[in-house]
C-alpha cells in the first residue's frame, strides 16, 4: 500500500485502547479533509500527457499514478486548484461540487 488510508475512529473503551505516548501510530487518519473543498478537480485523460507536474506539486499528495494515468484521492483533496493552475495542457478543470 503506497499511502495511508482513512481509519475508522473507535472511542476508547479501555485504557489499553489509548496510544502509548501522546499520538497514535504513524499514518493513523481518522478524519477526512474532503469537507474543505468547494471546487473539485476533474481530469480530462485525453488531454493529459502524464508529465506528473501535478503529482509533484499537490500540497496534499492526493494525486497518484495508476497504470499510466493520474488518479485523485477525493478523501484528502482540499480543492486548492494548484494542479489545474500548473497543468501545462489545461487537462484538469475545477468543477463546483
Amino acid at each position: 500500500m503506497s499511502r495511508p488510508k482513512h481509519t475508522e475512529y473507535k472511542i476508547p473503551q479501555h485504557i489499553n485502547d489509548y496510544p502509548t505516548g501522546p499520538q497514535y501510530e504513524a499514518g493513523f487518519l481518522p478524519e477526512k479533509n474532503a469537507g474543505w473543498r468547494t471546487f473539485k478537480p476533474v481530469v480530462n485523460h485525453d488531454e493529459c500527457i502524464y508529465c506528473l507536474r501535478c503529482y509533484l506539486l499537490c500540497p496534499d499528495g492526493t494525486i497518484m499514478k495508476d497504470n499510466g494515468k493520474i488518479k485523485i484521492d477525493m478523501d484528502y483533496c482540499k480543492g486548492c486548484g494548484v494542479c489545474a493552475h500548473e497543468c501545462p495542457k489545461d487537462a484538469i478543470e475545477m468543477v463546483k461540487e
Partner: protein, 302 residues
C-alpha cells in the same frame, strides 16, 4: 565526499509512490507542505523528522490524526537542531545504518529562535539535514514579522500606514550566514522549481555531516494570494530576482540560476495582499536592494 555523478537521480517518474506526509490539516494550497512532502519522498522511509513549533508541526500532529508516516517528533522551539543532533547520535549508538535525520523548521524557527542550536549543530558537524521552509513570517501564530520578512511586508506586528510601509528591514542573509560556518553543503531553493529542490535534497541526503537547505515556500493565507497560484508565486519570486538559487559546497559558492533579465518586481508584489499598499518609492527601494545584492553575488560567486 560522494561525487555528484554517483548519486542516483530522483524525479517524478522514479520517486517512491509512498506518501510520508498525508492527511495533514494545512491550509489549501500550502507551499510549506509541498516542501515537506517532496523532501520526505526523496529521503525515503528510514527518516527521522524533528519539527519545532510552526505550521508543519501544528498541521501534522492534530490528535488523533497522525499525518506523518515515518518517525516524527515535535521539538522545543529553540532546540530543534540540537534535538535532531541527539536523534542522529542515538540512532548511531544503536548501530542503525542507512538513515537520515531531518529538521523542518519555519523561517522564525531558523533565523530567529532556533538559530543558536542550528549554529551549534553545524559547528559539531552532526549528521543532520536542516530544511528551513521560508514563508517570510510567523504564519502559524497569525502572521508576525520574523528575521526573514522582506521590506514592505504588512504583518500584524508591522502594520502598514501613512508613515511606515510595514516592515522596514530587509531579509537576513541567512544562506551566507550558514555558509560562513564552513558547512559541508548548503543550498537555497524554491518550490516554484521543484526538480531543483528535489536534486538539492537528494544531494544533501548523500552528504555525511551537517547540511542546510533554505526553501522558499509560499503561504496563501499570510500572503493574501489565491490558493491555486501558490507555486506560480514562488516561481515569480525567483524570476524577479528577489530569491536566488545557489549552492555552497567545498568552500565555494555556486549560483545555479543567473537570469539575464529579471521579470517585473512590481507585478510580483502587486499579486499579493501583503504588498498591496506599497508606493512606487517603496518598490524602488526593493529593486535597489535586489540590484545591490545581485551585483555582489555576480562579482564574488561566478
Amino acid at each position: 565526499m560522494t561525487k555528484v555523478l554517483d548519486i542516483p537521480k530522483v524525479n517524478a517518474k522514479n520517486m517512491t509512490e509512498k506518501e510520508f506526509f498525508y492527511g495533514h490539516k494545512a491550509c489549501a494550497g500550502c507551499g510549506g507542505s509541498i516542501a515537506v512532502r517532496l523532501a520526505l519522498k526523496v529521503l525515503g522511509e528510514r527518516t527521522y523528522s524533528a519539527l519545532p513549533a510552526g505550521c508543519m508541526s501544528a498541521v501534522g500532529f492534530i490528535y488523533p490524526q497522525m499525518a506523518f508516516n515515518s518517525n516524527a517528533i515535535i521539538t522545543t522551539f529553540p532546540g530543534s537542531a540540537s534535538m535532531a543532533a541527539g536523534i542522529a547520535a542515538g540512532a548511531k549508538a544503536l548501530g542503525q545504518k542507512d538513515f537520515k535525520t531531518v529538521v523542518f523548521a519555519g523561517d522564525g524557527g531558523t533565523a530567529d529562535i532556533g538559530f543558536q542550536a542550528l549554529s551549534g549543530m553545524i559547528d559539531r558537524n552532526d549528521d543532520v539535514l536542516y530544511i528551513c521552509y521560508d514563508n517570510e513570517a510567523y504564519m502559524n501564530t497569525g502572521i508576525q514579522k520574523s528575521g526573514l520578512t522582506p521590506y514592505g511586508t504588512k504583518t500584524t506586528t508591522t502594520p502598514a500606514g501613512k508613515n511606515i510601509p510595514g516592515t522596514i528591514t530587509h531579509k537576513k542573509n541567512l544562506f551566507e550566514i550558514i555558509a560562513a560556518h564552513d558547512i559541508a553543503y548548503a543550498a537555497t531553493a524554491s518550490i516554484g522549481y521543484p526538480q531543483d529542490f528535489i536534486n538539492k535534497v537528494n544531494k544533501a541526503k548523500h552528504v555525511k555531516g551537517a547540511t542546510f537547505i533554505h526553501v522558499y515556500a509560499s503561504c496563501p493565507t499570510g500572503w493574501g494570494t489565491p490558493t491555486e497560484t501558490s507555486v506560480e508565486i514562488a516561481k515569480d519570486a525567483v524570476d524577479a530576482g528577489l530569491i536566488f538559487l545557489a549552492e555552497y559546497e567545498d568552500g565555494e559558492y555556486k549560483l545555479n540560476r543567473n537570469p539575464k533579465e529579471f521579470k517585473s518586481v512590481e507585478e510580483y508584489l502587486k499579486k499579493q495582499g501583503r504588498f498591496k499598499h506599497m508606493s512606487d518609492a517603496d518598490i524602488q527601494c526593493v529593486i535597489e536592494n535586489r540590484d545591490k545584492k545581485w551585483e555582489r553575488m555576480r562579482k564574488n560567486w561566478l
